[in-house]
Symmetry: C2
Subunit: 221 residues, 2 copies
């Protein structure tokens, strides 16, 4: 396998937390890991497909997004290195994917066989059970993050949405200055507002001394 080069990433993921390098390599073959390489802009999956594997991002960045009939785009979620995505579609009656998954940069994904992940196997994988628990924790965390995003979206004005989102980012980075993984258009799609109106509001907030920014770098004051 050519997955060894990602071992450094894998051992830091939530999924394999508490599991040693050697065991991870063993589990990768037990879970029938397959590598998927993607160029920026490639679709990893499209809405309507059925997932039979659990994908894990080991390089790059992905967007979970949806385009409606009129071409309006919503970015539901941003997936970073080490994160799973599509874990919620392992359940047998979960139906097809509701959203597209697109590579926001050149990316590498490792796919694990869905059935083998949830079915604790009888052979040597001593740590399989731990993986199942980690998986549960990861779905739980995504759950909490989705609720947090709902918190942003529930804000009525563009300004409130921005403050809500930037506050969260600041907390996440434990610093008043931080970089966000989205450009203006993407941030607008993420918060479900008009880009120009948002740009306008950002500048107003800067002029009022609430924050400063430069490209993707922000600082709250």
């Amino acid at each position: 396998m050519k997955l060894k080069k990602y071992l450094n990433v894998l051992k830091r993921t939530k999924l394999f937390s508490g599991i040693g390098e050697d065991e991870i390599l063993g589990m990768l073959s037990c879970l029938q890991a397959k590598k998927l390489e993607l160029k920026k802009g490639d679709y990893v999956y499209r809405a309507g497909e059925h997932l039979s594997c659990v994908p894990l991002l080991v390089e790059g960045r992905l967007h979970i997004q949806k385009d409606d009939f009129w071409g309006n785009r919503s970015i539901i979620n941003v997936i970073g290195v080490g994160e799973l995505f599509g874990e919620s579609y392992i359940a047998p009656d979960s139906g097809p994917l509701l959203n597209d998954v697109v590579a926001a940069e050149d990316s590498v994904v490792i796919c694990l066989d869905a059935n083998r992940v949830i079915t604790t196997c009888s052979n040597a994988c001593r740590f399989h059970q731990m993986v199942v628990q980690n998986l549960f924790y990861e779905v739980s965390e995504r759950n909490r993050r989705l609720v947090q995003k709902l918190g942003h979206m529930a804000q009525r004005t563009t300004r409130e949405k921005l403050i809500s989102y930037l506050s969260e980012q600041s907390q996440k980075h434990k610093s008043a200055s931080f970089e966000i993984p989205l450009n203006r258009q993407q941030l607008a799609d993420f918060l479900s507002v008009d880009r120009s109106a948002m740009s306008n509001e950002l500048c107003k907030m800067r002029d009022e001394g609430l924050l400063t920014f430069n490209k993707n770098s922000f600082e709250l004051l």
Copy 2:
């Protein structure tokens, strides 16, 4: 225990799916089940608390909601009979609750000890492992529903939000006519719009022949 009267509900829950009545009763004591009775309007939990149990609703209806500094209310989610809530807070590093949980009607909740739920015990609970898997499936489903709600919230206009929500309800009930579990104010809080503006829009849509409604009953045309 006085939990026998809820056995009919419990055996239909996702959590205990595939598990017989006798086993359920056994597990309830193994999981240190405790009953919690609530009057309409009571707070089950408040944002900031730490959960040490997994609550399961067996009677009534709950709202997961949040009031901001200015008194604006957002209803994040509606919990019906048989559903878990707060499952995402079992994980050890999950921090405090972000939202309030309030009884929308007189309700009864059964609390299961969080540690005992995820730690498959050594004694007689043969079905414990199955419960862990069911738990995972249930969090997954909630996850997918949250994404669906994000889909409603991402709509730009009140009308689009209404159509998005009502379409989902129609699909869920597999019928063009159905009842929703929210009154006007609650629906507005759920979709994060102004009640009067929403009321207005609903009437316009009715006048245009898109739908009819009477109190909580809707029919799409």
